[in-house]
Symmetry: C2
Subunit: 608 residues, 2 copies
């Protein structure tokens, strides 16, 4: 039996109570940001959403994403009141509690970590897209703050959702007028939200977010929007319900002081004695496609000229043919990254994100939440656009999320520095949980695409624009964490370590050194993280020095990884890009930045 | 005398001719993306803009920003035809030419490097904001592609410009329907651009971008928009003017083949024999404020408890009082970063960017172009949102651009991982030209703010949330590239290197070790880039090992910088964050990640 409006209002007050007491107990947190959303949360969790408090999987159910992550206390409160969690709300923000300060998947009810604003909607759009593809019922609800809607990523997702006719997506804007450090840009100008949303093709309902009846009616209206995503733009008051903080500046991220202040606040909420049982409601199950392990077999001849970016596309298409869970998203670069090859064989599993890389990564994360193994690709340099999304994706702990950056390094040539990915290895290595792969030839590229699809968490694959000769046989395996020693002898004097375009330069340098009677070991460091430390330390010990060379910044990449790994075991000379590049041919630029065969041989000689 | 429409059309054709011949000669580039914008460029450069082809400073003149940077050839062509540059257009994209593949400041006519899309408008908005502040006349024109308007940063700038009533800003959307890999999201649906722009408060004119009269009229109408920024949304055809490529897919980034194909294209342009003299037109000069060297004197007592983020704010205000060119922009975190202290003393020089970090950095870059020394601040983790903007800012070679990231590391505590900056050192170190500073105490923080304001290019300052004791006297100097040895003796057995919160842990570890008769050297590595290599190598040689400790990812930060610097001279143990963090108290989290005094002391003992 549906709850009546009085009960739903009282539940809103009860959620406020929990938000206040838990943050006061923690001594930090954002009670007033919770209080503005109380009626919205009450109606969603205890009336509108089809869900089962006993099943956090989100399958056959509506899904809720709290994009305004600082309102976590009211999420925990709603889950607790619905019987979905048993945790003590008063453990909020404690080291031993799953109820973190912002939502993280330590709670099984959280699909995507939030707290960096403007990230919920792209992920929710990805889930909505994936669910449409699977033919599944259910809506994806995303609660956002008004301040966060200044983030451009929100408007990227808004456009993506409209273009893809995601009428199973519902965005809720909690327009409480106040940001962290003062009033928001648009304060209570509801048109400032409603008009752009309409202009971008959304269906919009503007409501008083504290009027339970209006909120209920709005959600009901959003159930059938015929191809248009739906937004509830709710006028609310920050700190609603407690007169001395309501709609007042200076109360962001500030708990009520335990004791008199908190009690005074709670007293204003009145009677909050209410229980609403959430009856499990599930949608009809869709026939699930059984996952198939991604596998492929490269098909090249040694010496054949192939760019790793092209091999990436070939591999992606091969995997997609075998595994129904492989999907791809690209930022209008599919003919450069070669992700178009997946589109050719599985068009329905390819999402065009256009030139909006933040949303692209958010959508990929959303796909992952719905069970896909998504590959998101663009030029390596443009992934820097989505770095905050990638960082947060790590905290979302997706089963799989693969990012591919093509056109890495100065070897792209004439297009110039704006198109050169020179920070991507540093960017992905610095993530506190990640895998970083960097193939040099086509066989390795295909194998690493296969490895990436099987590897848990966030994986990065770096590909190159120019073609390179195939170095490996089709049966060669490239386990994550390994390396390949391509040249070695029992009297190696130096070690040359490269990957991608610089591996070929290292091989040329080895030949040049050999002519002078200097034996050089050459290592293909295709797994940048994790690193094959044993092989590197052995090389450091057995030779007079290691020269690392990378078409990447000299800071934070492959060279420093090696220097850190072999510290104390030997010497390392790091060759990499240091200084602003320019237009030119690839060979002119490799020479300019001292990462060509001549520079490698010279660095090697300095060790002797 | 204004040029007539026939001459302007013929000039458009001539610009097309140059765009074709220069890219054909280069063998790469984007002629068709230039051709859609030819009438827009002709009218702008030879009719609408007030500028002086003899003076690239942009002072007392209108300014042009080519946000769709891949159309660089038509910019070079327009400048050449106007007599502003003498370079041979046929040297385009060559290693020895300033005419790069995408605009860079190697040409004095380029203020901001472009080529990563969606970045021109934020920078242009910053220039417009700065010019308003200075009371200067002149308009900032920004030419954008339609594909790039999918970037959320465009809509961040759109909101910023409307909110700040930048009616001296004119955005031109070259809606040529085709992106890189296929049609754009909205193709020729002009409403898809015009309606959201209007909804966000802009004045909009929709025109046929190939009709010189319409384009002229639109720009004229935009001259007085009473507080509203102005957009020209121009319907154009990619490859306009050459029938076999016009409005056709598959021609993005593809030059015409020299010989028959190119000649066939040129023949279709007809007679392009035209010269239009650009008469220098300048606005009245405003009285310029003479720059004053930024300087300050810290005022603390040793042992006083102050957070470096607070000292940052104090220093910023001090500098602003002295130097009229100091300005600040913040992303609704001014009460956390303490940039609000500048706002308190110089409100007119503070821009609130709200929660839109990409635009925040773009605006700061625009301010720098107009002669300011801008400080842009937010939480360290949220600067990852703007990484592509920061990367491109390096290529813009600003005289000054300072970024401050507060709340670095796990030491923020209860808010949890979403708010922890753990990748920022790696991010800023990896830039091919940057300075990275990391103060531990308030005196150092103030001095480094002063240093940052005087240091050329992109500078990063990392600040901490918790308070720390003042360690240095107010007269202490902290030159960029230096370090401070806080503890040392003639029998040091190990070296401990820290910065920020971990420096205090290192000092505690030193005390603990001393109790066991182990002498430890302690180094404050406040300049992370450039690094004080001499001091570090000396420590590596004189002690049995260096323990580095950082409240940052173990990859790409301070530790790897040290390991690379001392390679071969000694051993380094790197302590840093490796693995996903969580909510907790700062001390719980420092212990969890092995970066507290106990972990440092243990690592030091392993060297003995």
């Amino acid at each position: 039996m549906p709850a009546d409006n009085t009960a739903l209002f009282r539940m809103a007050q009860k959620l406020r109570r929990h938000s206040i007491t838990s943050t006061s107990e923690a001594g930090s947190g954002h009670p007033t940001s919770c209080m503005s959303a109380a009626e919205l949360m009450s109606v969603l969790f205890f009336e509108e959403m089809h869900w089962d408090p006993g099943d956090p999987s989100g399958k056959q159910a509506d899904v809720f994403v709290l994009s305004k992550g600082h309102a976590a206390p009211i999420l925990w409160a709603a889950l607790k009141e619905a019987g979905a969690i048993q945790d003590d709300l008063l453990t909020l923000r404690r080291y031993d509690s799953v109820l973190e300060g912002h939502p993280t998947p330590r709670s099984p009810w959280v699909r995507v970590a939030t707290g960096s604003l403007g990230q919920g909607l792209p992920a929710a759009a990805g889930m909505a897209w994936a669910r449409k593809l699977e033919g599944g019922a259910g809506r994806i609800f995303c609660l956002m703050g008004d301040g966060e809607s200044a983030e451009g990523s929100v408007w990227e997702a808004v456009q993506f959702a409209a273009f893809n006719r995601l009428d199973n997506l519902c965005a809720i804007f909690d327009v409480n007028r106040l940001g962290q450090s003062g009033p928001t840009m648009h304060q209570h100008d509801m048109d400032a939200y409603a008009k752009p949303l309409s202009a971008f093709g959304w269906e919009v309902a503007v409501v008083d977010g504290h009027d339970v009846a209006q909120v209920k009616a709005a959600f009901a209206a959003g159930r059938g929007t015929g191809g248009r995503p739906f937004a509830v733009v709710a006028r609310t008051l920050k700190g609603r319900g407690v007169s001395f903080v309501e709609n007042k500046e200076g109360w962001h991220g500030k708990p009520f002081k335990k004791g008199e202040e908190m009690e005074k606040a709670l007293a204003e909420l009145g009677d909050t004695d209410v229980t609403i049982k959430v009856e499990p409601r599930r949608y009809k199950a869709v026939t699930e496609v059984a996952p198939v392990e991604p596998r492929l077999t490269p098909d090249y001849q040694i010496g054949q000229e192939v760019a790793t970016r092209e091999a990436f596309g070939t591999a992606l298409a091969s995997l997609a043919k075998v595994s129904p869970q492989i999907a791809a998203v690209d930022g209008d670069t599919k003919n450069s990254t070669f992700s178009e090859r997946l589109k050719a064989v599985a068009p329905e599993r390819f999402a065009e994100a256009y030139i909006a890389e933040q949303n692209m990564v958010g959508v990929a994360l959303g796909m992952a939440c719905e069970g896909f193994i998504p590959f998101a690709s663009t030029f390596a340099c443009f992934l820097s656009r989505a770095y905050d999304f990638i960082r947060m994706a790590v905290y979302s702990r997706p089963a799989h999320l693969v990012l591919c950056g093509s056109h890495a390094g100065v070897s792209i040539g004439e297009d110039g520095p704006s198109q050169m990915g020179l920070e991507d290895l540093a960017m992905f290595r610095a993530l506190v949980a990640s895998t970083v792969l960097y193939p040099s030839d086509a066989v390795c590229a295909e194998r690493l695409v296969e490895e990436a699809a099987r590897t848990e968490g966030v994986v990065y694959i770096r590909t190159t624009r120019p073609k390179g000769k195939v170095l490996y046989g089709n049966d060669e395996q490239f386990p994550v964490g390994g390396s390949k020693t391509l040249r070695s002898s029992d009297h190696d004097q130096v070690t040359l370590v490269g990957a991608g375009v610089t591996l070929y330069e290292a091989l040329k340098a080895q030949e040049a050194l050999a002519k002078d009677g200097i034996a050089a070991r050459v290592i293909d460091l295709y797994s940048v993280k994790p690193l094959d430390e044993a092989t590197l330390r052995k090389a450091a010990a057995e030779t007079k020095g290691i020269v690392t060379v990378e078409d990447h910044s000299v800071h934070g990449g492959l060279g420093e990884a090696v220097a850190a790994a072999v510290s104390g075991a030997g010497r390392v000379a790091i060759l990499g890009v240091n200084g602003i590049s320019r237009s030119g041919t690839p060979s002119e630029l490799l020479a300019r930045h001292g990462i060509d065969a001549a520079a490698i041989a010279a660095a090697a000689r300095r060790f002797l």
